[in-house]
């Protein structure tokens, strides 16, 4: 079954991209209000949010531990991600199979993963199984086993998964190359999932050290949404998590990355590839960016929907590509603005030129009143679809807490969208969108066929797709 628009690309670039901010909140809007909920802070620092919704007998949870891959040693990215995967590979009295069987046996779900700024564990159970749910969650967070054999199996799998992704679709990975290139020396540049070479170097001790330093009550936010009895749940959370100690180290702090000046090109060689994927980006804006509503509207117009400026040029008008998208990742500090698309190898230059022209056009001409109204209707019209289920609310509120934002971040979004003026759009175009002269450009394609052409875009660094890292500084000398 194949679909019309490459929605997966959006997912690969902005969501599956193993970096913090998901785009759930980016789409919150007017008319959506955070449902009535309770918020408690336990004596040891655990933050607990309870969102009762009794329409279906389900409970969704989202446990967010602040830290994420910020807690990785710079030389060994991937520890937080591997650790997250191991949380469900044996904990408390259950080995890996018994744990999976306990979850799946009752039709529950339980999945842990790392982002740049947090590790989160998410899942959903029948309301009648919430005692089991709490027990499993507490075991995974407080009593993970981190057995050497499980670690070895998962580590080997993660390495081969990256290799398999390279064999299948560069869309899955191009953001990792892009962020490594833009955020050199900054934690946002580290691949959260690690690289083949960094994963190979990770030891059991690395995982234990990370856990000792970064896991603890003061780092944890628990969100439960669904068919819950609030007072019972509060008691049970106290019982399971009330005696947990604080994390041994303070939370890692972030400083803002500096923007790329001028143009730089990273060419990732995939010999024989019939099309070139490209990722064009620079440092954007952070989660508290005051013009976030205008930002979302302008990005919607530039690269956030089917009729966006770049999809119109690259797909609708020219037929050069199956799709083109842009977006902002906004963390505690500014993440990236990036454009991603792809075109047949021989059209690499044409597609790149077209993309840069659209960016220049946006910077020069801005957007029109009609465009602004269309984007406003679009973002407002789509927003409620992001807040349909208890699991949606557990996810959104966990993110609000992670960034210290408060429910008004969701509640006020609609009125902010309605107030955006053309002047506001001009401001965000000036502030947040990079100039076409200041960009990092990452290309994954057949270097032998495009190397000469891409020199005109800036100084070219080169690496191969099979090189076991996403960082161009770990260059290998190719035979070319």
């Amino acid at each position: 079954m194949i679909g019309r628009f490459f929605l997966k690309m959006a997912a690969a670039t902005w969501q599956a991209a193993p970096r913090g901010p998901t785009n759930v909140l980016a789409k919150a809007g007017g008319g959506v209000h955070v449902p009535p909920h309770e918020r408690f802070v336990l004596d040891n620092g655990v933050t607990l949010l309870i969102v009762p919704r009794r329409d279906v007998p389900l409970v969704a949870f989202n446990a967010v531990l602040r830290g994420g891959s910020l807690g990785d040693q710079p030389a060994k990215p991937g520890v937080a991600s591997l650790l997250a995967g191991l949380l469900e590979k044996g904990a408390g009295k259950r080995d890996a199979f018994a744990f999976a069987d306990a979850v799946e046996g009752v039709g529950g779900s339980f999945a842990a993963g790392a982002n740049a700024e947090s590790i989160s564990v998410r899942g959903q159970f029948l309301a009648r199984d919430q005692q089991l749910m709490l027990e499993l969650l507490a075991d995974a967070l407080l009593r993970p086993r981190f057995e050497a054999e499980e670690l070895e199996t998962l580590r080997a799998r993660h390495i081969d998964m990256i290799k398999a992704a390279k064999d299948a679709d560069p869309s899955e990975l191009i953001g990792l190359y892009g962020r490594s290139f833009v955020f050199r020396g900054h934690p946002y540049g580290s691949p959260v999932i690690g690289s083949e070479s960094s994963l190979a170097a990770i030891t059991q001790q690395d995982v234990l050290d990370y856990y000792a330093a970064n896991f603890g009550a003061d780092r944890l936010t628990l969100v439960f949404a669904g068919d819950v009895d609030s007072s019972w749940l509060r008691r049970m959370v106290g019982k399971h998590f009330g005696r947990w100690k604080k994390a041994r180290t303070p939370e890692p702090q972030l400083v803002a990355a500096t923007r790329v000046r001028g143009r730089e090109v990273l060419l990732v060689d995939s010999p024989g590839a019939v099309q070139t994927h490209f990722w064009i980006g620079n440092v954007g804006v952070d989660r508290r960016y005051r013009q976030r509503a205008a930002l979302d509207l302008v990005n919607t117009l530039y690269g956030g929907r089917f009729t966006s400026i770049i999809n119109t040029e690259l797909r609708i008008k020219s037929g050069l590509s199956y799709g083109a998208r842009s977006g902002f990742a906004r963390g505690t500090v500014a993440g990236e603005f990036a454009i991603h698309s792809f075109a047949e190898t021989e059209n690499t230059e044409k597609a790149l030129d077209m993309t840069l022209q659209t960016l220049g056009g946006l910077k020069r001409d801005g957007v029109t009143g009609d465009m602004l109204e269309s984007a406003r209707a679009y973002v407002l019209g789509q927003y409620p679809l992001n807040f349909e289920t208890a699991a949606d609310w557990a996810g959104a509120l966990g993110e609000v807490e992670l960034f210290g934002l408060g429910p008004e971040y969701i509640d006020n979004y609609g009125s902010e969208l309605r107030r955006v003026t053309l002047q506001d759009t001009r401001q965000v175009i000036d502030e947040a969108f990079p100039a076409p002269e200041a960009l990092a450009i990452v290309l994954v394609g057949d270097a032998a066929r495009i190397r000469e052409q891409v020199r005109r875009y800036g100084a070219v660094s080169e690496m191969t797709l099979t090189q076991p890292a996403f960082d161009p500084r770990e260059r290998v000398v190719s035979s070319a």
Binding site: R4, A16, V56, P57, G107, R122, A168, G319, G381
Partner: protein, 444 residues
């Protein structure tokens, strides 16, 4: 199109990755309304007022199954052309108007159907009906637009097949698995066919398959059914009925022995795919087939994941898919192997596991887990208006009646271990499978 990496990236992605089992009574049967227009078009409406939005699915009974050599990929090409203008509207206007009303859309094509999806605020209902009916009544066939869209589809093919090892192998396996039935055609189309369609091919296909009597429109969301029916009568009923499409008469002859396809490609990780001949969607054993597949590959506690991925480390990922179509199709198993692994070794382990299931069946715990997981997936879908519209359509199209949706949990509950054993024996027969192996190409 399936994605072998879903589970790896799953935890980093969508918040909608969870779901859960419930009791088997499905609410909503009484509120669903359906009607058939004078021209034969079916309209089904499920009013749900949780959010002020609507999900619309327009099901077209046309997929790559309805194609012929020389025009493969045509059904999918329409999935693109349906957005490219009518005699009333310029190319691109469909999307511009919909988005300006707060709506978004998408579409997908399979071996059996082409489906158009819109998600929009309730106030946009009439605009959406106007747009949807216009492209059925007045689709334009402009040469320059067709040529540009060929480029888009070729780009899509490069992405999904030519530069994509799992996609490339799957296409070869599917082509080898069928000798008579059009299920052998890749939905995206063979490259030479994508280059060669003529305008007359497009016009003939459209007239036949995009006739109102070949469409089923399903809506779920903040709606009043009578209002929807009024709009359907206003916008769709004037479109004339056409002669019903010729049925697909081809019946795949029995497969006599295992077929093996080996391809060498630039790769770091070898791939292994098994495609077993399997029943059609409407088969009475459908629930048992789904549960068998779930027992084999769903979750970390599943048979094949536990054995091949965790215990033996002979694969890094195992997944599966039953192509539930109008005609008997394929039940797929997809394995990604570690770098340097010997596919012969993995095959031997896989064969041993599958042989054991076909010989001895499954345990009560395995069946119970699969029922709970399947039920959880069902309820997770039903939690959204999008899922409701999709499920209603699937039951109407592939099972002949939307109301069977409300009996689905009961169908799963009834399945016994004996039922699982029976479908396992029938389906997991090595003689009725096509095996695909993708190996890293030899250094020259």
């Amino acid at each position: 199109m399936r994605n072998l990496f879903t589970s790896f990236f799953r935890h980093l992605a969508s918040p909608r990755s969870s779901g859960v089992a419930l009791e088997s009574a499905v609410p909503g049967r009484e509120s669903v309304r359906a009607t058939t227009l004078g021209n034969g078009m079916r309209i089904i409406v499920w009013p749900v007022h949780d959010i002020p939005n609507v999900a619309l699915y327009n099901w077209v009974r046309a997929g790559s199954r309805n194609e012929a050599p020389g025009i493969t990929g045509l059904a999918h090409f329409f999935e693109h052309m349906m957005f490219n203008g009518t005699s009333r509207r310029q190319p691109g206007e469909f999307d511009r108007l919909m988005e300006a009303q707060g709506g978004a859309n998408n579409a997908f094509t399979s071996d059996d159907v082409t489906v158009y999806q819109d998600w929009f605020p309730r106030g946009a209902l009439e605009v959406v009906f106007d747009l949807e009916a216009d492209r059925i009544a007045n689709l334009a066939f402009v040469r320059e637009v067709v040529e540009s869209e060929r480029g888009v589809v070729t780009s899509e093919r490069r992405l999904r097949v030519d530069d994509n090892n799992p996609g490339f192998l799957g296409e070869q396996v599917q082509a080898a698995a069928f000798v008579a039935h059009p299920y052998r055609f890749p939905t995206i189309g063979w490259p030479s066919d994508i280059e060669a369609w003529r305008l007359s091919d497009l016009q003939n296909f459209f007239k036949t398959y995009y006739a109102p009597n070949n469409l089923t429109l399903v809506l779920a969301g903040d709606l009043v059914p009578e209002r929807v029916f009024d709009l359907a009568r206003k916008y769709f009923e004037p479109i004339p009925r056409q002669t019903a499409p010729q049925p697909v008469r081809a019946r795949e002859p029995d497969q006599l022995d295992e077929r093996v396809v080996v391809v060498h490609r630039k790769a770091q990780t070898p791939l292994l795919q098994y495609a077993y001949k399997a029943p059609a969607a409407a088969d009475s054993r459908a629930a048992a087939v789904n549960l068998l597949l779930s027992i084999l590959v769903d979750g970390d506690a599943s048979r094949l994941h536990r054995s091949l991925v965790e215990d033996q480390r002979a694969a890094i990922e195992v997944s599966g898919h039953w192509q539930e179509g109008f005609d008997p199709g394929l039940l797929w198993l997809y394995l990604t192997l570690p770098e340097g692994a010997d596919p012969t070794h993995t095959r031997a382990l896989l064969d041993a596991e599958l042989g054991a299931v076909a010989r001895n069946g499954v345990t009560a715990a395995e069946l119970s887990r699969a029922k709970n997981l399947t039920s959880a997936g069902f309820w997770k879908k039903l939690a959204t208006i999008d899922g409701k519209a999709q499920l209603l359509g699937e039951f109407e199209i592939f099972h002949g009646d939307w109301s069977k949706l409300f009996d689905a949990p009961g169908q799963f509950e009834k399945v016994t271990r004996e039922d699982i054993l029976a479908v396992a024996r029938e389906i997991l027969d090595p003689k009725r499978r096509t095996v695909g192996v993708l190996l890293p190409e030899l250094e020259t």
